[in-house]
Amino acid sequence: MLRFILNNDDIGTALPPGMLLLDFIRYHQHLPGTKTGCNEGDCGACTVLIGELQNGTMHYQSFTSCLTPLGNVRGKHVVTIEGINLPNSLTAVQHAMQDCAATQCGFCTPGFVMSLTGFCLSHKAPTLTNAIAAIDGNICRCTGYKSIERAAARVAQLLEPRNGSTPAQYAAGAHILPAYFVHIPGRLEALHSTLESANDVAAKPIGGGTDLYVQQHDALRQKALRFLYDQPALKGIRQEGDKCILGAATTVADLVASPLLQAYFPYLSRYLKKVSSTQIRNMATIAGNFVNASPIGDLSIFFLALDATLVLSDGQKERELPLRHFFKGYKLLNKSADEYIVRLWFYLPSQHTLFNFEKVSKRTHLDIASVNTAISITMQYDLIDDIRIAAGGVGPVPLLLKETAAFMTGKLLTESLIREAGFLLQTEVSPISDARGTADYKRLLLAQLFKAHFITLFPQLETAILIR
């Protein structure tokens, strides 16, 4: 039986594990505080907290329940707005929202309260920047956010005295959570959840669900699903020699938090801030971003530039496949139906290698790119020793621009080389007009972002010449 704790209640259910958590909460448990807004993880009105026991302590993250299958919360603590309400007063977060007049129609408000409460339970430093980052996946159509910013500032202030104590300890004593939270770790430890289909090779594999549930919202509910999100074998980021190995179910949030990746990619958090929202980054897996086969997947572009290699398995044997060979055509993958990604690896950049990621979308954050591109360039003095340029949104698949790279390799990096390469680049792409921009715009944008790579990485270049 699929078991988890919902607020203060132990849940055991025989409902299909592919059912969405939001529907379960609202229509089966009759907890209407969690709202249905967009059904695709883009508004945050359905935000809940998902707590996991890791080495004896609870770790809570915000999720959009509209894209979370019940199967992904087995053995966890699911917290809705009803689960944080105190019997006789508002919580400190709720107080801040009320005092700052940060609620108008109120429909998005529970989602904001949950995201901010999640921030209080996270290990992030209590700064305004971090508090605002915690609500980057919540849309409000009434307030214009300024009052919500003021509330977030108050929440950050509230956490300042936290010092040494863990976020959960502090929250318990600071009117942020009700008392029953103290007993959750013990209760989760005693909870044994089974899920027959978890290892069913015939079932459809699903990771975080953030794309599959948008595409196949109604169909997945009844389907046999194989839940990969929590499989320990698919988790973890580690270094072996000069290789970095990432489990397929590594989430975007795991990437951001990895000290190893931070050391090699100092601007990682800046790049990944532009990838969806806090909630979705907590849920979305790297393998999911590849398998989704979007021509514009941010992580596909990121790892293409790193020349990452996938390890695929059919449950029996594994095979390696460079990511650049994974995408065969629009939404077509070099992968058999029973294969799934186990992990990927790439060579960590040398000290002569520079990396940059650029993305422009209609809305800078929480949006799908019009064009995204990544570059990895290894220099030998002023000569380009090795270069890889990946670009999304300019062809049917995430592209590695090989001819441009070949042209530049071995040459002296100058403004005129970049300009010449820029012309060649256009012959390798074939963007189409769609809701994310016209073909002309995408060509121009790619040209600009190509220049942006060099302007960012090589400040000694003459910008005025490059942008002419």
Binding site: A101, V360, T463, I467
Partner: protein, 764 residues
């Protein structure tokens, strides 16, 4: 005072339509919308859909017992298309099933056999083909033809303004429950309970007194639920009436976006003439309103476009004509500003074109032409203007010269980042443009325990109207806020209401409440044994004062005594806005109770490498009158500004040529997120003690601030020109990152606006 709902909002205990507990036997509905935008319906194939387990019935036009008609202003909109299909998403059938999943699954099995017809999405094409919702409307002042020869400079241009999706986070929905005696109770997420009631009356052929429409609150409306909630309520009512079971339908986001209308896209042509002193002498403008497939509220929206076509300026000679053009899009509808913003964008563009041609700063033309008290708007109303007061205060308070200097220094220093600036004055008339709608009622009961219950026609959708009404009652009766409760809006308690719209809800319902409370107070104070003239009595903090000194009469004693003396403790206040009138034949009158003024200074920064941008600040001086709730009013201004900036810079409603919506989800239609909003919004009050018709002199604040957002478009234009002085920037909104980048780098470099008349005044 905080919003009275804030406690339930932050605890997730506020009840919205989809949160109502479900009654036993409730059925769930889902509409099947036309897959094509224009055509003739030959056949509807529903056999397969009926096989889905749980499906109870599939309703179509022939099941309607009354009239298949939901058009409010003009009867041109069937509930179900039965023959001629006018837009993609137009309801053809309603599946009713035992659960939501079955209803949605069945909808996907329905097939419509349709002979397609030519699809029109462009209002200019519609106008050329004579596809008009109604005859063209005009507003004329002075004589433009006589004025052109007086002008030293004349500029012409064309405009293309996109629509805007409301994106209330709570989607449309309704829940209809059969009652005894053939009555129906309908919960609806609507701004206009009476409109819902009337629509159901018509569709079912049931008198209005049997239709109780109840609204607790909306999870956002913005105009999108003023008229367009009617469809879903009528569909649920139809099914409930026929099947004798409760029927609920809360729309999926993609259904909502595809099937409902939006802010009207407009195209326009302008011609503006100035004299050497930069005074605008003449302005001609033709508007092509993209009404969509049927009238909906388009005629009224069009009227407001004309009313606001000169924004906050006085122009002696104006000729404005507007066509409401029928296209094959979902009927476009009310959206915060109601046609005003489009009219105001066009005059701002015309001024920008003139400024570019004359190589002067746009703000010089703006400030030289602000309307003054005593001058007439083109529709004849004489201004009581705060336009210059707001402008001058903004310029001084925020130190415009210093802002400009800082921007120039920044732009000189940075190659790839450029800042831009714009000033945006606003002037917005308060009242429904349709004079007869400017009335409201408030039913106030004082219970024998001293508590007070109030029912009005106002619908709470986040704008804080119920909080303001509660303030009016408590302050008028001299009692504590805790004694007063505002009830859900219901057509059984307050009848024949106007929708909550036009920024006027607090004024109208607040004044009705004030009238009712005053009448009650008069009766209560008459029951005392003090035997003094009425003028010497007042009530404060629940104590009756005689010449300002406490007596031993308090609120509870008043209520008890009145009750014992059989004095009525209930009152129905009725308010109708005085002084307003408008003659649509002559196009002249005094349509507005008053105007709201303000000026915003908007600064942006453009990344000229990538075409992306940020709004640095919006600094406002706003004409509040005397704000009765600064918290709520500040929230309305901040929210309005951000929504306006979204409309002008980010939000892009995209239909393809077949009239199919491409921006049909939150993944493809982007509204501002927390990172997209101005880094700083400063709001200063223009405090005016002049008497006005606002409740407690607290001027309406719902719609006007949205139009500050127009300034963001012009600030972006300014920044682009700082990078590339010869940039071609067509007057097309929104200014998305795509438009910015194309303007920064597109190959053409022809002057955008040519003077059509050479310097007549100077030459002669």
């Amino acid at each position: 005072m905080k919003n009275i709902d804030s406690h339930t909002h932050v605890t997730g205990t506020s009840v919205y339509l989809d949160d109502l507990p479900i009654l036993q036997g409730t059925l769930f509905a889902a509409a099947y919308g036309s897959p094509v935008a224009h055509g003739i319906l030959r056949r509807l194939e529903i056999t397969e859909a009926l096989q889905i387990p749980g499906v109870v019935r599939i309703l179509t036009a022939k099941d309607i017992p009354g009239e298949n008609q939901i058009g409010g202003i003009i009867p041109d909109e069937p509930l179900f298309a039965d023959h001629h299909i006018h837009f993609a998403g137009m309801p053809l059938a309603l599946v009713v099933a035992q659960n939501r999943d079955a209803a949605r699954t069945a909808v996907k099995k329905i097939q419509a056999i349709i002979d397609p017809l030519e699809v029109i999405t462009n209002p200019r094409i519609a106008q050329a083909k004579g596809e008009l919702i109604m005859p063209a409307k005009s507003v004329i002042q002075g004589d433009t033809n006589a004025a052109w020869p007086q002008c030293t400079h004349i500029f012409e241009g064309a405009i293309d303004i996109n629509g805007q999706e409301h994106l209330y986070i709570e989607t449309q929905g309704a829940y209809a429950i059969p009652q005894e005696h053939g009555s129906l109770k309908v919960y609806s997420s609507t701004q206009g309970p009476t409109a819902v009631q009337r629509t159901i009356m018509r569709v079912l052929g049931i008198p209005m007194h049997r239709l109780e429409v109840v609204v607790t609150r909306l999870g956002g409306g913005f105009g999108g639920k003023e008229d367009q909630a009617n469809t879903w309520a009528a569909l649920c009512a139809l099914a409930a009436h026929l099947l004798k079971k409760p029927v609920k339908y809360a729309l999926h986001r993609m259904e909502d976006m595809a099937m409902t209308g939006k802010r009207h896209p407009y195209m326009a042509d302008f011609k503006i003439g100035l004299d050497a002193a930069l005074k605008i002498l003449a302005y001609e403008v033709t508007f092509f309103q993209n009404a969509g497939a049927s009238a909906d509220l388009s005629p009224a929206v069009l009227q407001r476009t004309l009313f606001h076509c000169t924004n906050a300026y006085f122009i002696p000679n104006v000729s404005a004509t507007a066509y409401s053009c029928r296209t094959n899009l979902p009927p476009n509808t009310a959206f915060r500003g109601f046609g005003g913003p489009q009219g105001m964008y066009v005059i701002e563009a015309a001024i920008a074109a003139a400024a570019a041609g004359l190589q002067v700063d746009k703000s010089l033309i703006q400030s030289a032409n602000l309307i003054r008290t005593g001058e007439a708007f083109p529709y004849g109303q004489i201004a009581e203007s705060e336009a210059s007061a707001c402008w001058d205060k903004a310029v001084a308070l925020y130190d415009l010269e210093n802002i400009r200097a800082a921007i120039n220094a920044f732009n000189a220093e940075h190659l790839l980042l450029k800042k831009g600036l714009a000033l945006m004055p606003i002037c917005f008339g308060i009242s429904f443009t349709n004079t007869l709608m400017n009335n409201a009622r408030s039913l106030v009961h004082i219970y024998s325990d001293g508590s007070v219950g109030i029912s009005t026609g106002a619908v709470e959708m986040g704008q804080g109207v119920n909080t303001k009404i509660l303030q009016v009652a408590a302050q008028t009766l001299g009692i504590s806020y805790d004694r007063v409760k505002i009830n859900a809006t219901s057509t059984y308690t307050v009848a024949n209401t106007s929708p909550s719209a036009a920024s006027a809800t607090a004024d109208l319902n607040g004044k009705a409440t004030w009238i009712a409370c005053n009448a009650l107070l008069e009766r209560l104070l008459a029951v005392t044994d003090l035997n003094v003239s009425r003028e010497r009595l007042s009530i404060q903090n629940e104590i009756v004062l005689l010449d300002g000194v406490a007596t031993d009469w308090n609120w509870l004693r008043l209520v008890n005594t009145a009750f014992v003396q059989r004095v009525s403790l209930s009152e129905n206040g009725h308010y109708a806005t005085p002084t307003i009138h408008y003659d649509s034949e002559t196009g002249k009158g005094h349509p507005f109770a008053y105007h709201v003024y303000g000026t915003a200074i908007i600064e942006v920064t453009v990344d000229c490498l990538r075409g992306t941008y940020e709004t640095d600040s919006v600094k406002v001086v706003h004409d509040f009158g005397v704000s009765m709730n600064p918290d709520i009013d500040r929230g309305q201004i901040e929210g309005g500004i951000v929504q306006g900036i979204g409309w002008m810079t980010l939000e892009e409603v995209i239909y393809n040529e077949q009239g199919k919506l491409l921006s049909n989800a939150l993944s493809t239609y982007k509204v501002p997120d927390i990172y997209a909003v101005p880094k700083e919004i400063l709001i200063d009050h223009l405090h005016t003690d002049n008497d006005n018709l606002a409740i407690f002199r607290s001027k309406a604040v719902g719609e006007p601030p949205l139009m500050y957002g127009i300034g963001a478009w012009f600030a972006l234009r300014d920044a682009i020109l700082a990078f590339r002085p010869d940039a071609v920037i067509p007057f097309v909104a929104p200014m998305t990152p795509e438009k910015v980048l194309m303007a920064l780098y597109s190959k053409q470099s022809v002057p955008a606006y040519e003077e059509k008349v050479s310097h007549l005044g100077i030459d002669s």
